[in-house]
């Protein structure tokens, strides 16, 4: 057993860098981050104040990396971090934070709180305290290539079914194509229509692409746990697959965290740049639209639709405009939620929270923010571009008996194009 309190503290100590030190130096304990956090706004429980989650980290920073803190420690004025401190931090860092990063947008001194939450999670994982659901997902992701444990054979079967349905050949392990596509588990089995849809869109646009049997899913539980070693293993699998097939571009599926993991975290956890580019599927579709390769010749729908921005893709990943371009192409009645793009409210399912059994009741409570946002607009359709968001939204809407349809943006684009072409 290599995980221990000591390992957790070492990991945390190693993770404290200059930005972290500047963040703790700047925090004035104003507590305003709480007002950006659904866990606080929807429950009113002060413990959910984002900066409050990082108390052990702050203490360690002070003890280890400031002259005054070292002195205080020396004369016994500050307490060392205990197992109990770490255990208490699990609830605040894993079970009640979706790492949505909204607090980071609000902080008056500019602290990126989620940047630190991820480090805190890494320390808790090294202390052996990561939630079992995430550990299990990490094992499945690395051993089977799928967080939900769907092996390549499952995807191959879905591909054959899609080929049959569409009559289009879908490549697996085809080298030298334009794109290598990764999916999320949900897209392999639950929202599998996406495979056929993309086959049609790409064929129409004249783009070549393939799946890889060595890496077919992008969701990365290692990232949720802040466990860079684990995260890197999975990224290396993807990099190896892309290099083997000599592709120039890798497409991240409709999954916010997957995009964050392979687009932004990936090169940093493996410690070298990629020999290829990474795009979110929506970025690719928008590029095709811009190039005029999304052929459509009829007018758009008038049914009001709105869009839910996935935190990791939009706020933290920087994909804010492509989805809007595509929506405006399809609809003349696209309405924004009151707070959207970089300031969107989280659905409450991200950061691994959605996969934790313990959080079910809490998730129901915090969904009320999203419910109010949708109620305000009075729309019947919410589009999003993240499978986890989609699941969370569907579950939340059902719990609240709201008759609102949730749809993935890729699927929506496909439906739109195909409708036009059929008519």
């Amino acid at each position: 057993m290599t995980t221990s309190l000591e390992q957790g503290i070492n990991t945390l100590k190693a993770a404290i860098d200059a930005p972290t030190a500047s963040y703790f130096s700047s925090c004035v304990h104003c507590g305003i981050c709480a007002y950006a956090c659904i866990f606080y706004t929807e429950t009113g429980e002060a413990k959910y104040t984002p900066m409050n989650r990082l108390e052990p980290m702050k203490r360690l920073w002070e003890q280890e990396y400031t002259v005054l803190g070292r002195l205080k420690k020396l004369i016994g004025l500050s307490k060392a971090i205990t197992q109990a401190d770490m255990e208490a931090a699990v609830e605040l860092n894993f079970e009640s934070c979706t790492t949505c990063g909204r607090c980071s947008m609000i902080c008056p001194v500019g602290n990126d709180i989620v940047y630190m939450i991820k480090k805190m999670r890494g320390a808790l994982t090294a202390a052996g305290l990561a939630p079992p659901e995430l550990k299990g997902a990490a094992v499945r992701a690395i051993e089977k290539g799928s967080v939900m444990g769907f092996p390549m054979e499952t995807l191959a079967a879905q591909v054959r079914a899609a080929e049959k349905e569409t009559g289009i050949k879908i490549n697996i392990d085809e080298p030298n194509v334009d794109y290598m596509l990764l999916l999320s588990s949900a897209e392999v089995v639950q929202f599998d229509e996406i495979i056929g849809s993309l086959a049609k869109i790409f064929k129409q646009a004249g783009v070549t692409w393939t799946f890889s049997s060595k890496a077919h899913e992008a969701a990365n539980p290692g990232m949720h746990m802040g466990a860079k070693d684990i995260e890197a293993q999975q990224i290396e699998q993807m990099v190896a697959a892309a290099e083997e097939l000599k592709v120039k571009n890798v497409i991240s599926p409709e999954c916010g965290h997957a995009y964050m993991a392979i687009r932004w975290d990936g090169p940093n956890v493996i410690g070298r740049p990629y020999p290829f580019k990474v795009f979110h599927i929506i970025e690719v579709l928008d590029q095709l639209r811009e190039q005029g390769k999304l052929k459509t010749n009829a007018c758009c729908t008038e049914e009001p639709i709105t869009f839910h921005d996935p935190c990791q893709a939009a706020r933290r990943g920087g994909v804010n405009q492509p989805q809007r371009n595509l929506l405006n192409m399809m609809s003349s009645n696209f309405v924004e939620m009151k707070q959207h793009s970089a300031c969107n409210w989280c659905c409450g399912g991200g950061g691994g929270v959605g996969s934790l059994e313990k959080t079910e009741e809490l998730r129901k409570r915090i969904f009320h923010r999203k419910k109010r946002q949708i109620d305000e607009l009075g729309v019947n359709t919410v589009v999003t571009m993240c499978a986890t968001c989609r699941n969370t939204l569907e579950e939340g809407l059902e719990n609240n008996s709201m008759d609102v349809n949730v749809i993935g943006l890729t699927e929506a684009v496909a439906n739109h194009l195909l409708k036009e072409n059929e008519s």
Binding site: M1, T2, T3, E6, Q7, N10, T11, K13, A14, I16, E64, Y65, V67, R70, T125, A126, G128, A130, P132, K135, G136, A138, V139, I142, E143, A227, D229, I230, Q233
Partner: protein, 365 residues
Amino acid sequence: MTKKTHRLSDELQKHGISRRSFLKFCTAMASAMALPPMAANVMAETLEKVQRQSVIWLSFQECTGCTESLTRSHKPSIESLIFDFISLDYHHTLQAASGDAAELAREQAMHAHKGKYILIVDGSIPTKDDGVYSTIAGMTNLDMLKEVAKDAAAIVSIGTCAAYGGLPKAAPNPTGAQSVSEIIKDKPIINIPGCPPIPVVMTGVLAHVLTLGIPELDSHGRPVAFYGDSIHDRCYRRPFYDQGLFAKSFDDDGARKGWCLYEVGCKGPVTHNACATLKWNNGTSFPIQSGHGCIGCSEPDFWDAGGFYKALSTSNAEPGHWAGVALGAGAVVGAAAALANRHSHKQAESDKTEITLDDMKESDA
């Protein structure tokens, strides 16, 4: 110089001073000192009845400016009469006698009016090396002060040197100059600071002492009547301060327009004196009116307050000169702290073990 004691009222009449003009003087004194109207009558009545008060004036480390101020700043006026009606039994500058005769006069007065005479001191007292830095007739100032103060009824310290040590006490104070109140602890002492003090303030306070006794004093032993307000509070240029209109130099437009002199070093805000109200030279003007900032001469240690032309809010030292040293010291200690931080960081980096898939497979204990 001892004279037969006379009543002041008799002397006044002899000098052709009418009761009306005497009352006017008393009223003016009373109002200058902000006493209630009734006090003027009390003063007049008491002054008429008092006998000539014996006064011994000792001059120590001083420049005679205070005496100059007292004697020469006015035409002979009713104020100077007061001096005719005190018995100035010893005063270097004013007395005719010299040498042994002068010292004899002092000793006689001390003997004749034991416990009743008033001691006036101008100048500070050197105390270093047993006070050898200033002697009169072979006697150090320190000894003479102690000797004369012993049987005095009260002491009046005239001028900033006597009151607070003044210029002789300015750093590095080579003679160990001290004020009267630092040496004499068992007598009532009235301080009339200023370099020099305003003449009417000196006469007014003496009149008060003769008639109503020792006036109300502030924490620095100054009569509140004259030293209760700051120059700044009574300054006719105060409205410019409040509006933020300042002369930036002595010859700029602001200076010509008579704007506030704060920026060119005026110490009015921390100086307590009556210059702005009583003024000088028979109420003609005072420094600020003539275009120069107050130098704060009636405050203790005004000489060491960091320069007459340095604004009050600036430092009287040079914090900027130390900035380089502070930067250097910060950098040296900072570099040490940085090395320690890097060491801890590297240590933690090498101490932590890689997290493997096996760790993920452990069942939760």
